[in-house]
Symmetry: C2
């Protein structure tokens, strides 16, 4: 019996998982390698960050998603290197695996454009860990503000800045505004959470730059109605622990803010850079690997790059956006290309992205949607959004829970997952922060000032 | 206007929260202080540890539980000291608060009986953080076993030891057995999770020592049926990273096991010891504070101790168990005592525990229950268990979700919250562990040996 062809897929995100699933009936041995044991539904990560959902509710164990696919093996591991000549991938634990075809789907990571020091004060939102860190920051800010008597300091703790007004930034800003205006409405005794200032900023001239102009305007109006202050055309120059400097049309502006969240941009993970250098692949300025019309790297027809790491062009020469839809279609395409080759069939037509549209949600029961040229906003757009997201999640986990959770929450404004847990105590030293602002002299106040 | 009487409650567990809620209509200013921002439903913590539930599903933010109770303020803080003479509590952040009445409800922590070094290899299950740590250990063990070729090492990774056969130990053992036999059934390619050995041990002569004999027997039979090996009358002598030594009737026994979970016993938290020393209160050997019939400390009629920290006696002179029911009834009692005193009413009758019975769940649809002398087991007991636990949870959060989650899970054996996240990578170095067992020579095997 001849050996079965081996396909290695690196990354269990939208691209990698779609590829694995599309290989279900192919006569191949598939190994899917990921550093995490779960597939994460990233578009809802902002809901973990804002306490609406628990991480377990938007993630599915990769093993369980693929458990019935007998030709597929899941490997928990960290790919450190790829040798495209001997056709091996090397794991951090020392194991090295040989492939016949390789699909690289390692996604993207947040980019601070040369200001990596900002990461400490302005976490981003790409992983479960980061989302939980952001959740802690938001919740702690209200806790600290509750304990502070000084109005200026209190104001700084109640100022939330979101840098980047793409879908994630817009969704985060809307959710934080709802937390402040509704969820926490009755929860504090010294502060009024409604005083919180939520600022969404972008260097572009409008929010949702990738959306049509009219929808961006509608999104902006919806945000303002929720109490978000939208600042466009401003450049962030410095982010520090307690403040940030932004350049506006009128000059430099200093903003006192203790909570800054980075929804700014993406870059290529280390393995993407390694792969580019090993294959001498062409990349764009951000490090994305330029792939051919069949999604392979030049001179390496057995290496497919899909999802955020790939720079693929649409027929107009415009690069495809880094969204789940693109990654999923590319993953499926790569899987089919491998199957057809093994079956001796002629090559597929070149990859063509079928754009089903864009969506962004803005608070409860409100969204903007651009689907096949139809522009929706408000509740109809929210329904489309909810339907699409739930369909996807339900596929993996019978997670009708998420829907029920939303229903409860949207009716009651409560947020079930408002826990501060884990390493929060070390990430953010609550007692130390307070010790610096709570003077012994305040002590009687705390008790009396009910 | 005369100043309102100030009640400080330290701890937002079952005892503290019940006290706060019972003071809802009292003419007092209540301050509830907890180190966490949530009330935790500890009896279900084992379900977080075994991936059935997310932490957010068994916890409710204290602020939101108490948001509509206008006389009550929640303070996120760490109480370091209590001065019973000047009537102040001191927080780690430097603030000091004055009280007229104090209710101390700080609960218990796990005890390693002088072997604190064991904690590193045998985590316990008292907090969300520990539960998530235990979850990681369990899931990682299967991941590592999947990658190991050596049968002895693989066996050690697939051996799970639970020390302590009280309700938590029994529930954990049952849940791990179900994970191995059902949930992960199809998830691996090299190992068969059903080979996992789950050992539940206790130095007592039977499981559930606090339960009636016949129910303990039934629980044991149910556990054995699930595939749990029950070892009673054995003493743990040493726990190390890769093995433990236990003393049996036949002598010393060495057990190779990479996952040991401590469900062994409880001790008094630091603040409990501080309070005892400041008030010169009598304590038992474990440090519990002996309270009078009105749950106050001798000579300090304004300091109530409720829940696990208190040693209260039933009419037969037997000490009350450290369970939620006792803590809740004591919290309510203390609150009423304070109210009555302010209203100038005569003192309440001495505290009397109303025992509604004991419950322990053993895997899916099976439990043992002892309620008012009626002994139930199997499905009827499980129904009682589910009803009681859900009623409690629903009170706080409309958390009908938990019920739905159980329903899905019990029908499908899936576990949605099987995520390995956060500091797992540092708590447990997967790559390093693997590097020590995955030889480069194994590499081809990993890929081919599907």
């Amino acid at each position: 019996m001849s050996r079965r062809s081996r396909v290695i897929i690196v990354g269990g995100g939208f691209g990698g998982l779609s590829a694995a699933q599309a290989l279900k009936s192919a006569p191949v041995d598939v190994t899917l390698i990921d550093r995490h044991n779960y597939h994460l539904f990233q578009p809802l990560l902002y809901q973990v960050a804002t306490g609406s959902l628990s991480a377990g509710e938007i993630a599915a164990p990769l093993r369980s998603v693929l458990s019935r696919q007998k030709n597929t093996r899941v490997l928990l591991g960290d790919v450190r290197d790829i040798d495209p000549i001997s056709k091996h991938v090397l794991l951090a634990d020392g194991a090295s695996l040989e492939y016949d075809s390789l699909i690289v789907a390692v996604g993207s990571q947040s980019a601070y454009y040369g200001h990596d020091a900002w990461r400490e004060w302005a976490p981003s939102l790409k992983s479960v860990e980061e989302a939980i860190n952001v959740r802690h920051k938001i919740l702690y800010a209200f806790e600290v503000a509750e304990r502070i008597a000084d109005p200026a300091q209190r104001r700084a703790w109640l100022t939330f800045v979101i840098v980047g007004a793409g879908p994630t930034g817009v969704e985060l800003a809307g959710a934080i505004a709802e937390i402040a205006r509704q969820t926490l409405k009755n929860d504090f005794r010294s502060i009024d959470p409604k005083e919180a200032q939520i600022i969404l900023m972008d260097s572009a001239q409008r929010v949702l730059p990738a959306f049509p102009e009219d929808l961006a305007q509608k999104a902006k109006r919806a945000l303002v109605k929720l109490g978000v202050e939208v600042q466009t055309g401003v450049m962030v120059k410095v982010i520090d622990k307690e403040w940030l400097n932004v350049q506006t049309h009128d000059g430099m502006n200093r903003l006192e803010a203790r909570t800054v969240i980075w929804a700014g941009g993406v870059s290529v993970p280390a393995l993407g850079k390694t792969l580019a250098s090993r294959t001498k692949a062409e990349t764009d300025r951000s490090g994305k690997i330029i792939v051919g019309p069949q999604l392979t790297i030049a001179n390496y027809p057995d290496i497919y790059v899909v999802g955020d790491l790939a720079l693929a062009l649409d027929p107009n020469g415009k690069s495809l956006p880094g969204v789940a839809q693109v990654a999923m279609q590319q993953g499926t395409y790569a899987a089919k290309a491998i199957s057809r080759q093994l079956e001796g069939k002629p090559k597929q037509k070149d990859f063509k992205y079928f754009d089903k549209g864009s969506l962004a949600v803005i608070g409860r029961w409100s969204a903007v949607a651009d689907a096949f040229g139809i522009h929706l906003s408000g509740f109809p757009a929210w329904l489309v959004w909810a339907f699409i997201h739930l369909t996807y999640i339900v596929q993996f986990q019978s997670r009708i829970l998420v829907f029920i959770q939303w229903a409860i929450q949207d009716l009651t404004f409560s947020r079930g997952a408002r826990l501060i847990t884990g390493t929060a105590a070390t990430d953010f030293n609550f007692n130390e922060e307070l010790a610096s602002v709570v003077k012994p002299a305040d002590s009687s106040k705390v008790a009396v000032n009910m």
